[in-house]
């Protein structure tokens, strides 16, 4: 979903510019496996098992043929959200002290917990990027629908995909017209007020547009249900991939159970 505005003009999931190998898998399967992987990884606490989970994500990344650097950069972006928590954790958790900084003690327990969270987060996010992030957003919507996600949520995704660009264009047009009339943002009331107007105008336009869209839908016989066309089929390669993936997950759980208790 990170590429909502892909340059791709084609929705066929076999032609996605990114991840040529992963994209041949059934999108439903990719979502389910990602979810399973996330659940298992979050439940792990043994550092060895977590490292293996991260390795599994990494391996899949290399196999998938995704541009590794770009994907890792995306992963690092997520890290920037949690970095402060990770850095502060050793200082906030009580336990065996490692060292003291300005009178605050860092604990081993806190450090290990930080490592654990870091490994979990990165392993999961990398798997999400590799397996589901490579999907065309439209395909994701269809796959979620096929997985019996509530229709309203699926329609929300579909409408978002469809109109995010229209809204962005509207924003750009308004912004350009502001610029053309000499508007330069600064730290003053005029700027705040102008941006307020901009946001307000976008809300009003979005509201009006939604009414026009509903009218157009009614004119074509809309009665509360949108029927989606796409159908998915599991192939042999999907099944063998799923089996391998499940085995890896079982191995992770086994490591956790045999070593984690200690």
């Amino acid at each position: 979903m990170t590429h909502v505005l892909t340059p791709d003009h084609v929705t066929n999931h076999g032609l996605s510019a990114l991840g040529p190998k992963v994209t041949s898998l059934d999108p439903r399967l990719r979502i389910v496996l990602t979810a399973l992987f996330a659940i298992v990884t979050v439940a792990l606490s043994h550092l060895g098992a977590l490292t293996l989970a991260l390795l599994l994500s990494m391996t899949l990344l290399t196999v998938s043929g995704l541009p590794a650097r770009k994907t890792l950069k995306r992963m690092a972006m997520m890290d920037s959200f949690i970095i402060f928590m990770l850095v502060l954790l050793p200082f906030t958790m009580p336990g065996t002290p490692i060292f003291t900084l300005w009178g605050v003690e860092a604990s081993w327990e806190g450090l290990w917990r930080a490592v654990e969270i870091g490994l979990t987060a990165n392993a999961v996010i990398l798997m999400v990027l590799t397996l589901t992030g490579t999907m065309e957003p439209v395909t994701l919507g269809h796959a979620l629908h096929a997985l019996k996600t509530p229709e309203r949520l699926v329609h929300l995704i579909m409408f978002t995909i469809r109109y995010i660009d229209v809204l962005r264009e509207e924003y750009m047009r308004l912004r350009t017209s502001m610029k053309l009339r000499g508007f330069r943002p600064g730290t003053n009331w005029h700027t705040y007020r102008s941006f307020g107007y901009l946001v307000g105008m976008m809300l009003v336009r979005a509201m009006e547009r939604s009414e026009r869209i509903l009218a157009a839908m009614k004119c074509r016989g809309f009665s509360g249900r949108i029927i989606l066309l796409e159908e998915f089929r599991l192939r042999r390669s999907d099944i063998s991939f799923a089996v391998l993936f499940a085995l890896a997950l079982v191995a992770l759980v086994l490591i956790e159970v045999t070593h984690g208790a200690a």
Binding site: H9, P137, V138, M158, I213, A215, A216, I227, L228, L229
Partner: protein, 216 residues
């Protein structure tokens, strides 16, 4: 028999001056009429009343020989009259072209296979089969316009209502639109400021001034 008949329609948006004050018109089978009038004269409002999106304050609208008053009466009207909106972005709301064209037929209870068949037929008819699997928001303005027409044609309407169809069309798509429309056998009600386009599609019609329709 008149396909569409408006009789003494009055309408005002709450808190504003009346937009329509006694508008009457008639569209017969096979007829192609245009409606002209200055900006804000109430042309779009008139179309909304025809489609049952706005209820008139008073007056009667009859479609296919039946009076239409409540929402339920208009389900039939919307199946048999196709309205092409002024802004194609309002109409194309599905992510892909094929899905958007299939939306109407699916609502009419067609199966997926039938709907896809209609999609292919309509796209072939307007010569845009190459756009079938494209993402709608990435089409050019002209392509969007033609696809929104295709989406309406997919419902096989008996009457086609076009609201400013030549907006944002380049000469090539303009010519193509004229070609397509001239090849159709539906009755047409056209709202357009473009005299050349009107002359080619629907030279006769009504003028909407001060809330009243007068025959040109």
């Amino acid at each position: 028999m008149a396909l569409l008949e408006l009789n003494d329609i009055h309408f005002a948006y709450p808190g504003h001056d009346p937009v329509l004050s006694g508008a009457s018109m008639q569209l017969n089978a096979g007829e192609r009429l245009s409606i002209v009038g200055p900006n804000g004269a109430g042309k779009s409002t008139l179309l909304k009343i025809i489609m049952g999106l706005l209820p008139p304050t008073s007056g009667q609208m009859t479609a296919f020989g039946k009076p239409c008053r409540v929402e339920g009466d208009f389900h039939e009207v919307r199946r048999r009259i196709g309205l092409v909106f002024q802004d194609a972005d309002d109409q194309l709301f599905c992510p892909t072209v094929a899905e958007d064209i299939a939306f109407g037929p699916l609502n009419l209870g067609k199966s997926k296979a039938e709907a896809l068949e209609i999609v292919d037929r309509v796209l072939t008819q307007i010569g845009l089969m190459r756009l079938r699997d494209r993402v709608t928001h990435k089409l050019s303005g002209g392509e969007k316009r033609l696809i929104s027409l295709a989406a309406v044609l997919a419902m096989e309407p008996e009457v086609l209502i076009l609201d400013e169809p030549t907006n944002a069309l380049d000469p090539e798509n303009y010519a193509r639109l004229i070609d397509i429309l001239q090849g159709l056998d539906q009755s047409i009600l056209l709202v357009s400021h473009d005299p050349e386009f009107r002359a080619k599609i629907a030279p006769e019609g009504y003028q909407l001034v001060k809330g009243v329709l007068t025959r040109l």
